[in-house]
Symmetry: C2
Subunit: 212 residues, 2 copies
Amino acid sequence: MQRTRVHNFSISLDGFAAGEPQSFETPFGHAGQRLHQWMMATRFWSEQGSDGVDNAFAVRHSDGIGAEIMGANKFGPPGWADDPSWRGWWGENPPFHTPVYVLTQHERPPLEMEGGNVFHFLKASPAEALATAKQAAGELDVRIGGGATVVRDFLAAGLIDHLHLVVVPIVLGRGARLWYGLEEVQEGFDVESVGSPSGVTHLTFTRRDTAS
Amino acid sequence: MQRTRVHNFSISLDGFAAGEPQSFETPFGHAGQRLHQWMMATRFWSEQGSDGVDNAFAVRHSDGIGAEIMGANKFGPPGWADDPSWRGWWGENPPFHTPVYVLTQHERPPLEMEGGNVFHFLKASPAEALATAKQAAGELDVRIGGGATVVRDFLAAGLIDHLHLVVVPIVLGRGARLWYGLEEVQEGFDVESVGSPSGVTHLTFTRRDTAS
């Protein structure tokens, strides 16, 4: 059965997935790289990286994924929609290697890049975007790539089957908030938690009726 | 060296230490008992309880503590200060067995109860209250007993040496918020995290210059 999954989604103790202000120079605002250092230290990120619990979670990012849905704020800094030459953060061979659906108010023609990356720009509800992405993914799963608003919207709509959060032990105080409007969202999920020697906590939410 | 400690302070994933509304019937609002079920299932709470990682943390509550400071909202439901007969939630032999300093705008004479419990009602800043409590505690440590506002105020004032949080995998959406105004509070602390089979995550913050 096709599932809709979130992986390696990092938040602060107070639930922010990015600081502020977000800009070209500081994509995660005052959080800097602190939310993702745990991942950059894994073998998933570089061959010199660690191969323990953090890596075991990190590598699931691409495993069996046939399409990604991301928010406009992940594709570029504020204002990118007004710049026809903006092609994302990731160079000419982005790390997705699947169709990617960018949810935006500003539709534009698809952008085909190297390595099987094709960006589609979609003005659609979460359910509509997911139907499109599932079709593109064939038998494979769909990853919801963030940022916080998109993960929150898909959770609120009941569309997530598996959510992997990484709680980083910092308090950001302000930024892009995951939990807002998600009262009792844990219902229907099995939740597990494990601490890592790196200091982060991995939380998984697995929807009961889709657990294998 | 005397330390100021917080133990068994339970919060939801979104950082609430109580739901709402708080009342005599529902001291933790819509959270009910869900934030403290992990503790009620330990041997610390009852002889039939579990004796694993949750209990190992839970029993530290009273270990070496010579006084507690609590907020007005922990001592009673909204309005208790207008009721001269209110003597706390805990019956005639409360579980503190030390002097307890209740921070309140409404001072009243000390309340002496069984088992070494003496409640003092204090209109004071965190630093003033702590100085008083430390003197009463002798060589022992002082526990900051909550609620969220009191823990937050003492953290913001840099007065906490050891903080034990228990993150319960529920999303409350509203209530008494711990993290507000605590940007970068983790600085100066060593933070550890461990998941428990019960589903909760224990987080400890230990101030570096007081770690033994």
